[in-house]
Amino acid sequence: MKEGDRRIRILLADDDLLMLAALHELLRPDFEIVDMVSDGSSLVDAAFKFRPDLIVSDISMPKLNGIEAARQIRDSLPNIKFIFLTMHANLAYRNAASELGASGYVLKSSAPEELAQRVRDAFTPVL
């Protein structure tokens, strides 16, 4: 998919509803938000239903954490890209995310521009 042909379709997941609404407001101007969910098993369901280009997900969520949900989605839908969002810099999480081939790992303490940039980077072809 080339950027510019159509808007990047994003699925958002965070158990913190205010954060979810905040992310929606942040990303809405540049991307299409297909759905927002607040636990891991709803994330898996929504991924199959909407087949987004990219998922921005919190790591610690009820029912199924973000990493586990990503594993399940990856098995059947290998083209969906992932960016994980987390409150704390945690090496174990970061390693698990990179093992999964995640396109990014963004701290909630990052600058707001960083998230949008990571989303665009995920679709920039490597020369």
């Binding site: 158990d15 913190d16 509803l17 205010l18 954060m19 609404a21 905040a22 992310l23 407001e25 942040l26 969002l85 409150m87 963004v106 701290l107 909630k108 303490s109 990052s110 600058a111 707001p112 960083e114 998230l115």
Partner: protein, 213 residues
Amino acid sequence: MKRIRVLLADDHPLVLAGLRSLLETECEVVGVVNDGRSLVEEALRLKPDVMVVDIGLPLLNGLDAARQVKKELPDTRILFLTMHDNPAYLKDALAAGASGYVLKTSAREELLGAVQDAARNRIHVSPGFGEQIVEQFERHPRSVSASHSILTGRQREILQLVAEGRTAKEIADLLNISLQTVAFHKYQIMNKLGLRTTAELTKYAIQEGLILP
């Protein structure tokens, strides 16, 4: 109708930016800050109608910042935004003069509603705490955390900065006081609390919720 003027404080820039665009759908966000000391400065300068404040702010926590602002600007309403569903924090927030206490797990509509309530001087507390804590507080408003009865406001400020790992020189610069005064306050805090090391002070500050573990 005049839009409610809001000052927003959170130490996570991504969260801050998101909350800002969320609040801007209905309010005028007059300022955003990342720490408690800037919150006090900006509040005194901008005189917002409502401050939306994360409790766990660096340099000066949200509760102590709120107390300082309330002293100068008693009409400014304060809404705390927090991840803690701990009733002790809620009591402290109400004692600091809060008009609301909203959990970060709340929906967008709840936050916007709580800002409206605060502007009308109505107290809003996220569901889940039950009304009894608010009622209890109205009957016994003095049941606040231990450090309030023991330490002065200045001493609590210094305790938080020590627990954040700041040096005496940094604290002196931040508060515009001499190194000797910092040392004197630290000595007095240790004396009052019966603690001997910086590690013990840090542990106490965490227990009291002045900083997050």
